[in-house]
Every structure is written in structure tokens, then in C-alpha cells.
Symmetry: C2
Subunit: 391 residues, 2 copies
């Protein structure tokens, strides 16, 4: 139980043959109410998949009632045919859910997400999804455990998180994402549910606050996706209207947990690197500096080799516009300050980078702001996973 941990939700997952592995690849999450509120954050990539183009319209129309997700194909850059596939999928879900429901369901209230290889979305792909929607709806269950696995692609493990508030409301979440992890957002699909009583506006404020400090600071390989979508659905089933800040804090913790799980499962990674930038003139500066290091292949390869190469850190941050003096910067690896005031400090031999968790601390001495960017090292396995087969 993850997205169905909160009251008012059912989910299901099926294997419909989109994945060559025969594993589950189609999932559905339905908000049974009584309240229906939602908020959605999309990738900032201008190259957007058909499900993103569709879901943007749904989000504008008002609260979503359900979200259908498939792995095994991104349905991105598949032309008008691909967009039509997304529309037909939403209509099939609305029709199947609407049977016997006086309120009825409109396709315009059904969010759609897809993930997999760009360019995949032919007639076979369409049929496998649309033809199986009735069975997917039939399988809906408040105790479902299949949905989280049905959205995985190159992920090696399911990513889920829950938060139970002593005040009587709950948050549940599931996520996928292993490659193409970069902000705006990382390459991932996330569905978060809650039975708290909150309106669309409150959900949107809390979601943007949570994603900006979690997923937007996850930058595994600098590559931005075409299909990212983070969806938050509220059913109001708990009957409890939470303090908005308390809810936002809990939601942020759930997103942070998912971001850490995404980082830990990044394709081919052997180190999870937290780049903590301190003493920045602004949070934006701290993020820019951290990101410049997270995207530096020489730095990432050095970490793979357990080499605390602080010179590559300085070479990376020197390319930014951030406000600091490169000759006043301190750099520490796993607690050992190797560079002080732009010159060598402790011997690199004192630093042990063999643990998977790696902490790089950069002090700019330019202000009071801080930010941490999560990234991974550049490994042979990363090259292998992204060159040996198309994804």
C-alpha cells in the first residue's frame, strides 16, 4: 500500500506486453473522493511527450479524477498518431470508470503518463494500452501493490514513501526514475496521494515548494527528460483539513525521500554524491554552483575512481556566474578540507572515498545561503547501460 495508503484511493497494475520482460507496465490510480483536488508539475523541457501535452490540458481544466501510467514506451515525438493514442487512453479510462457512476467521468479529467523509449508509440503500442484499460479498471483495489512496479523502466527497485500524520491524514507516494535524471524535473513519474482536505491552490503551493527543494535539486546525469510529471491528488477522505505548513512540510519530506531513492538507484552509479554549497550570496547561486559540479564529467569520473580531485571542483565552479572569489573557496570531501583559500590544504591521502555515500562541501564565503545538489558518479556501468541498448 503506497498511493492507496490514504483513504479514498484505489490503484491497479497489469502486464500488457509493453515491456519485453513481461513485467507489469500499465498502472492506474483513481481518486474516489469524496473530494477531488489535484496539482501537477511538468517537465520544463520544451520537447514534451504526448502524455505531457495532454495532461497539461487536463490540469488546466480542473481537478483530475484519475491518472493512468504506462512504461515500455514514452509516446514522445510520435506525431499526431501518438497524441491520439493518449486521448483514446484517457477516454477508455473515463468510459470504464464511468459505468454505473452517476457522476460519470470525462476524459478531460484523466491524467496520462508514459515512460520508455522516445519515438515508441505505434498501433501495437496503442492497442496494448487501450484494449487493456477495462481489465485495468477491473483490477482496481484499495489494497493494490502492483502499481509501483508497473511504472518502472530501468529502475532496479520500487520507490515509495508514506507519511501518517497524528492529526489523522496520510500521504502516500510512488515514483520511477533511474536515468535522464536532471531537474525540471528529473526523468521521473511521481504520483502522490493524500486524504487530507485541501483545495487545488493549497495543493499547488505545497507541491511546488516540495519539488523545488527535492526533485529539482537531483541532477544525476544532467539530462532532462521529455515525460516528467509529478502529480498530487487529494481525496478529502480523512475529513481533516490540515495546517497548510504542516502538510507542506510532510509533503516535502515525502518528496525528499523519493529523491534520495531515485539518486540511490541511478543507472550504473557507484557513489551517491551530495554536493553541499555553503556561504552563497543567494540560494540560486548555491544551486548554480552545486549543479556545475554535478554536471562535470571529469569530477564525476574522479569520484568513480575514489579520487578526491578538488581541482576539478574549482575548475567547474569557475564556469558559473555565481558571486564568489575562486581564490577564497574551501572544498572538503567527506569531512576532510583538501582546499583552503584556493590552495591545497590537507593531504588527499587523508580522504576516503570508498563508501558509496559521498559528501562534497564547498564554502564560497560570499553569503549565508546554502543548497545541496544530489548527483552520482560517472561509471563504466553508466556508459554500458546507455550505450549497449536503446532507451
Amino acid at each position: 500500500m503506497t498511493v492507496t495508503a490514504p483513504g479514498g484511493f484505489r490503484s491497479s497494475g497489469l502486464a500488457v506486453g509493453l515491456k519485453t520482460t513481461g513485467k507489469p507496465d500499465l498502472a492506474l490510480v483513481v481518486n474516489d473522493g469524496p473530494q477531488r483536488a489535484s496539482a501537477v508539475v511538468f517537465t520544463s523541457n520544451r520537447a514534451q511527450a504526448n502524455p505531457i501535452l495532454w495532461s497539461r490540458r487536463v490540469a488546466q481544466h480542473g481537478a483530475a479524477r484519475a491518472i493512468v501510467l504506462n512504461s515500455g514506451g514514452a509516446n514522445c515525438f510520435t506525431g499526431d498518431f501518438g497524441y491520439e493514442t493518449t486521448r483514446l487512453t484517457a477516454e477508455a479510462v473515463a468510459a470504464a470508470l464511468g459505468e454505473g457512476d452517476p457522476a460519470g467521468y470525462a476524459a478531460a479529467r484523466i491524467l496520462v503518463c508514459s515512460t520508455g523509449l522516445i519515438g515508441t508509440g505505434d498501433q501495437v503500442f496503442r492497442d496494448k494500452i487501450v484494449d487493456n484499460v477495462p481489465a485495468l479498471v477491473e483490477a482496481l483495489d484499495a489494497d493494490d501493490t502492483t502499481a509501483p512496479s508497473a511504472i518502472l523502466t530501468t529502475d532496479s527497485v520500487e520507490k515509495t514513501a508514506t507519511h501518517v500524520s497524528p492529526d489523522g491524514w496520510t500521504i502516500g507516494a510512488m515514483a520511477k526514475g533511474a536515468g535522464m535524471l536532471a531537474p525540471g524535473l528529473a526523468t521521473m513519474l511521481v504520483v502522490i496521494t493524500t486524504d487530507a482536505v485541501l483545495d487545488d491552490a493549497a495543493l499547488d503551493r505545497a507541491l511546488r515548494r516540495a519539488t523545488s527543494a527535492s526533485f529539482d535539486r537531483l541532477d544525476s546525469d544532467g539530462c532532462m527528460s521529455t515525460n516528467d510529471q509529478v502529480t498530487l491528488l487529494a481525496s478529502g477522505a480523512s475529513g481533516v483539513a490540515p495546517d497548510e505548513d504542516a502538510f507542506a512540510a510532510a509533503l516535502a519530506a515525502v518528496c525528499d525521500s523519493l529523491a534520495a531513492q531515485l539518486q540511490a538507484d541511478a543507472e550504473g552509479a557507484s557513489h551517491d554524491i551530495d554536493i553541499e554549497v555553503r556561504g552563497a550570496a543567494s540560494v540560486a547561486d548555491a544551486v548554480e554552483v552545486g549543479r556545475s559540479v554535478a554536471r562535470n564529467n571529469l569530477f564525476k569520473a574522479a569520484i568513480f575512481g575514489n579520487d578526491p580531485n578538488w581541482g576539478r571542483v574549482l575548475a567547474a565552479i569557475g564556469t558559473t556566474e555565481a558571486d564568489f572569489d575562486p581564490y577564497r573557496v574551501d572544498v572538503a570531501f567527506n569531512g576532510v578540507r583538501l582546499c583552503h583559500a584556493g590552495a591545497p590544504d590537507r593531504p588527499v591521502e587523508e580522504c576516503d572515498l570508498t563508501p558509496r555515500r559521498t559528501h562534497v562541501e564547498i564554502d564560497l564565503f560570499a553569503g549565508e545561503h546554502t543548497a545541496t545538489i544530489r548527483t552520482n558518479d560517472l561509471t563504466h556501468d553508466y556508459v554500458h547501460e546507455n550505450s549497449a541498448y536503446s532507451s
Copy 2:
């Protein structure tokens, strides 16, 4: 004969023990005149090595008379001691060259370049350079062939180019650079000489024009260096004042040849990728779009795997601010159009990426401008070279 191909120049190279391999690691190029004019372009990285900080001052003082270069240590982020090492090196060169020269040499006329590991520049490093300057000057020869090898680091081959004008003037050049190749400039040291009669201003115009269309469009691994310097020295020994456009064109050709040689020798690369962006609204847009692809690890890994993954190209260019419609773009690999108007076109099986030379053509249909970015693929050898040892 490369930098000494034009009249009025002598060069030398020595092995002074900076490289553990015992190969040449100290070089000197002297302009014997009769005229002495120069132009220099430096890295745009804010994190700059001591020789860059020194050479910037020299460039401001006026025409340089000589340039001394070492490999085996970048003398970057080595503190005041490192800057003093650079100054002492220039003074040693000026003193040794000045003996018996009525005109005399001032340290402020001596450019210094260093390349190698950041953080390297201790007393031993200083002594090996300064103590060997007299022998380096003693070895100066108009027929020297050692200098080009003395500036190499992880390079596997020497990079040189010459242009002999029918009008009687000549251009000679040598370059190093294999990793950290990204613009502003690539990680490289370049020395270009000419016996044409041109003043500092004319040389500066020609050099900036040439580098912007060559080295600045070379982006092997997206990592910007702290030590890049491209130096152009003119002796006027030919007595010929060339047409400025003709000289600029010849200089551009020389720089383009060197850029191609740098690309072909990039660390661990198995493909030389030319990303040609056409139909851009501006040259700046074309460069931004090309660069976004050149820096996308998923695209680079796909090329290593001989996978013409056009989806990763679209995902990359979608992150830019360039003026175009992602759904009108065409993408071709080695002449085979795989994506037309944002949808699949020819079958990927028709595309052969086994040759080292790879041509990716992106038509934005947004204007008449074009630009080509040179890059390389992301390979196991790249990861190995940059993780197995510190550099």
C-alpha cells in the same frame, strides 16, 4: 619545423623531470623580430591558473617577446607561491635571453603557460623549471622539432599546422589538448607564429575571429579548463604586410585544423562527432543547440554504442532557449533522416554509425543560420582515463 616555420622564430624543448615519463616537458618559443607583435586569448573560466594571471598582465603591457610552456603541472590553485614560481620563470627566461642582447629582455614581455594536474606547483616543481631555463635558452634552434612534444599531457600525438602563403608569408602552429575540451576555450595550449608584418590590433582581430569559429566550437566533454591560452606572435621577418582578410582566413584554417586534431585525439573517444545545426534564427542559437547535444551524456553514450538515438537529440535541444518548434525539427545521422517534423522518419537500421567520423545534422527550420559543434562520444576509455589516475 612548426612554430619555427615562419622566419624570425626559434624554439626549444627539454625534459626536466616534470613528467614522470621522462619525456620533454619544458618548451620555449622566442620571437627574434625584427618586428614584435602579439595577440593572446585566454580561458573564460574564472578559476584561472597562475600562468594565466601572469600572462594576462604581460598581454596588457604590449607585444610579447617569448613564451615559455611547461607540461607536468598546471600551477593552478597553488597560492602566492605558485604565482611567484611563474614570475621567477619569466624572469629567468628574460635574464637568459638578455645576455648579449643590447635591447635586453624584460620579464614583463615573457608569456608563461602551464598544463597538467591542478594543485601542482611546489618547490621541486619550481626548481625543475627555473634551474633549467638557461639550458632551455641554450637549446633554442630555428630548426627545433622538440617544442611540440614538450607541451603534451595525455595527448597521444603532436598537433601542428602550417600555412605558406604565395605572397611570401608563413604561419606555423603547435597545440596540446586531449581532455577538459570545452570552449572558452578548450583545455589547450596553442602557440601560433607568423613572419607576416601585422600590428597587435590586426593580430587580435584575426585571432578572435579564428578562435570563435574553431576552438570555441570544440566541446569534447563540456569541461572548461583553468589554463587555456592561445598565443599568436608575429616577427615581420618576411617583410610582407598581408591583406588582413587573407591572413585572417589563413589563420582560421590553421586553427580549424588544430581543432580537428584536438577532437581526433580526445581522451578515450571512439567517435569524432560533428553536430551541424542548420536553419537557426541566429548563429548563437545554432551554437547553443549544437552545444546542448554535445554535452548530453545519454546522446554521447548512444553514439559510443553506434545507436542513432535521435530521441536523445530532441530531448537535449528541448532544454535550450533557442528559437524553434521542437515538433518541426528534422534530425539526420550520417545522411539518413531519422526524424522528420518531430516524428520518426527512416528506420534506424538504415543508419551506420560504425565509422569514427559521425555527422549529426539538425535542421530547426527557424532561419538561415548554421554552426557546427565538434564533440566526441562518451566511452569506457574516457571513464577509465579520468578515473584511474588524477589529472
